[in-house]
């Protein structure tokens, strides 16, 4: 399982998969060291925020990454965009290994890999005008659009549904939703292939959330963008992402396409998560089982042995403590549906509606 072993394996696989997958994350680990001592600090442990996560994103596809707070989904996003240095594993983007690349040596990948941030109030520099904010990525990467920077920035403002005349305004003159649109325009300025959206709507009003999600969806269709969409709102993810991965304590416990995951989830954690989704369905309210998890999420400093969910799982047996369940596809389940559980069980938790979930449809 050493990295030296896995690298040649990936290089051989590159030819066959690089054409297919835009982003390939293999056994990604991000550990934050815990240090102690006043003068001579020594490492006494590590927070294993992300501990062996693998997934792929195809061009134009949106992969949703869900999980409760602290499960490592944002850390995964930040490791993919190289804001954080991965402790182990590999991140390949567009056929290029960017796991340990420095900013300067990955200009090409930088341009194609952009990010939308969670907090629209801190993600825009308050001392820059909207125009400067959107032009900066172009100028930093030496992109000179034929119509000029200003025209291009105004075009982008129009694309994200803002008034191009607001070019000279400062971020403090905009609302949260409008600010998030500016952040989206900034990410689009480099014409990226993949956008990592780190909870892009969770800081916004519910009505605004729908507008922004719909904008992202339009952009995805129009420009063929791929998304790594990180969220804790299952309804938003269901609306936006074709494939969904569920994370728990630094690991992916289940990954499947949208319909399968929501209609036939296999992992008990996914069952619990889905059963917590509020649902406006007076008819189904009675026969719907609400799974309540007991206890807290264990500390990622010292995660449980074997299956990480076993401490809160109602199905846990001895094997769960001794052996870690691999993320595998069950016989008879849909293609690409993988779950990491010793006792998987197909269970319908939420109504199998084809209509996108409530907040998104409300705005249309």
């Amino acid at each position: 399982m050493s990295t030296t072993k896995s690298i040649p394996a990936q290089q051989s696989g590159e030819k066959s998969t690089s054409g297919e997958n835009l982003l390939e994350v293999e056994d990604l680990q991000v550990h934050f060291p815990i240090r102690q001592g006043i003068v001579f600090q020594r490492q006494i442990g590590a927070v294993r925020a992300v501990d062996g996560v693998s997934f792929q994103v195809k061009p134009g596809e949106s992969l949703g990454l869900v999980g409760e707070s602290g499960c490592g989904k944002s850390t995964t996003g930040r490791a993919v965009t190289r804001l954080l240095e991965p402790t182990g594993g590999t991140v390949r983007f567009d056929g290029e290994d960017i796991t340990h690349k420095k900013v300067a040596s990955m200009r090409a990948a930088r341009q194609n890999l952009q990010m939308i941030f969670q907090d629209p109030y801190s993600s825009l520099n308050p001392r820059h005008t909207v125009g400067t904010i959107i032009e900066t990525p172009m100028k930093l990467n030496g992109i000179n659009p034929e119509q000029g920077h200003k025209k291009r920035a105004q075009e982008l403002l129009e694309i994200v549904g803002l008034n191009p005349e607001h070019y000279n305004r400062y971020p403090n003159e905009f609302s949260g939703g409008q600010r998030q649109r500016i952040g989206i325009a900034r990410a689009l300025a480099l014409k990226p292939k993949l956008i990592v959206a780190d909870e892009p709507v969770s800081a916004l009003d519910v009505s605004i959330q729908a507008q922004v999600v719909n904008l992202l969806q339009d952009l995805q269709r129009e420009f063929g963008l791929a998304f790594l969409f990180i969220a804790h709102d299952l309804a938003v993810v269901r609306h936006f992402s074709e494939r969904v991965a569920v994370m728990y304590l630094g690991k992916i416990v289940e990954i499947a396409d949208r319909e399968t995951l929501y209609s036939r989830p296999q992992h008990p954690y996914t069952h619990a998560l889905l059963s917590a989704v509020p649902e406006v369905d007076p008819d189904g309210a009675d026969n719907r089982e609400r799974i309540r998890l007991t206890g807290d999420v264990p500390s990622p400093i010292n995660p449980p042995s074997g299956c990480r969910f076993r401490t809160r799982c109602w199905k846990a047996q001895d094997i769960c403590a001794s052996e870690e369940p691999p993320l595998v596809q069950l016989i008879g389940s849909a293609d690409g549906h993988q779950a990491a559980c010793h006792f998987p069980e197909v269970k319908q938790v939420v109504a199998p509606e084809e209509i996108p979930a409530a907040p998104a449809s409300a705005a249309e």
């Binding site: 990010m115 969670q118 990525p137």
Partner: protein, 347 residues
């Protein structure tokens, strides 16, 4: 019967709606008007400063002093006495060379009286002394701010070992018993650097060493302030956003972080100037700053201690001038702070 109140209700609603529509259009008109103004944060701060009466008064007083300092040759020319031309007819050699006339010899030709003992014109020495004080204070403040900003930015942004080393230096500078050290260091520096070929002291070099000493002990405060601000700014997502765009450290420091630091930097500069004036006056008073015959507020006060029982005017004039300069600049600094950071301590 049920329909009638309902219908009146709707007509009422519609008029309300119309009213709302008109106010809405009015609102859009005003926002359209505002759009043309396009207020930057700096402009808004300036408008706030102008609304604050204390700041305006302080600014006026401070500007008058600065003007007097800048125009000191012109002003003493108008009055007719240079800073080092004694009026031997104005002092009485029989009465211990005290100025002739009430209030230290204030008259039409000597606007603020005559210096006892030497017979120099007090007004002329005052404006020349102001020039020295303000020049020393401003240059020292510029130097210490520049050094503080550079060190603070580097320390806060690069972190790790750089931060540890710079922080160590800052702590040492802050822990020094400043005044004692300055008193001990100044004569050494002055004799080392400001002795000219003829064995005398050169005024420029003497002032230079005072400036360097004051700046040397002031930069750590600015550095600390800037470092703290950078540490909190670094966690903001726009810094991550810039990093993802591929920004290098120069862009990060000077384009992303520095524009957000102008407010604290300006405030620390504005408050450093009066502090430096006071420090410089104190040094001169203690005899290690500007030394006579070069004019200076501090050394005037020092000289006045010999005469204050018989000629209090000579002490009051530089004392009040010093008080007014420091007070007005301090109030101005406070005003600048309130204008730049309207959320802080405003009830």
């Amino acid at each position: 019967m049920t329909q009638q109140p309902h219908s009146t209700g709707t007509t009422g609603d519609s008029t309300v709606l119309e009213a709302e529509v008109t106010t809405a259009t009015a609102d859009t008109e005003t926002t359209a008007a505002k759009e043309i103004v396009g207020r930057s944060p700096a402009r808004m701060a300036f408008l706030r400063l102008r609304r604050d009466r204390a700041s305006v008064v302080a600014l006026t007083v401070a500007l008058l002093f600065v003007l007097a300092a800048v125009l000191s040759p012109v002003l003493s020319g108008i009055e007719g006495w240079g800073p080092a031309t004694p009026d031997l007819h104005g002092i009485d050699p029989d009465k211990g060379n005290f100025p002739i006339g009430a209030f230290g010899g204030i008259s039409g030709s000597h606007w603020l009286g005559i210096e006892p003992g030497t017979g120099y014109d007090v007004f002329s020495r005052l404006v020349y002394g102001l020039r020295t004080s303000l020049m020393v204070a401003l240059i020292a403040a510029l130097l210490s701010t520049l050094l503080g900003v550079v060190v603070g930015l580097a320390s806060g942004y690069f972190g790790g070992k750089v931060d540890a080393a710079l922080n160590w230096v800052m702590n040492i500078m802050l822990a020094f018993p400043q005044l004692l050290f300055i008193i001990a260091l100044t004569p050494v520096l002055t004799s080392a650097f400001s002795t000219n070929a003829h064995g005398g002291t050169s005024e420029t070099l003497q002032l230079g060493s005072i400036i360097v000493i004051i700046a040397l002990f002031a930069w750590a405060y600015t550095a600390r302030l800037v470092r703290g601000q950078v540490l909190s700014l670094r966690e903001r997502e726009f810094v991550d956003a810039a990093r993802i765009m591929g920004a290098g450290w120069k862009h990060m420091l000077f384009k992303q972080l520095l524009p957000n630091l102008w407010a604290p930097i300006l405030i620390s500069f504005a408050l450093a100037v009066p502090t430096n004036i006071a420090t410089e006056a104190a040094l001169s008073y203690l005899g290690v700053g500007v030394v006579p015959p070069n004019p200076d507020l501090g050394s005037m006060l020092d000289a006045a201690t010999q005469y204050y029982l018989y000629d209090p005017t000579y002490m009051v004039v530089p004392g009040v001038a010093l008080l007014l300069v420091v007070l007005s600049l301090n109030l101005l600094g406070d005003g600048v702070r309130d204008a730049l950071d309207p959320r802080a301590n405003r009830a």
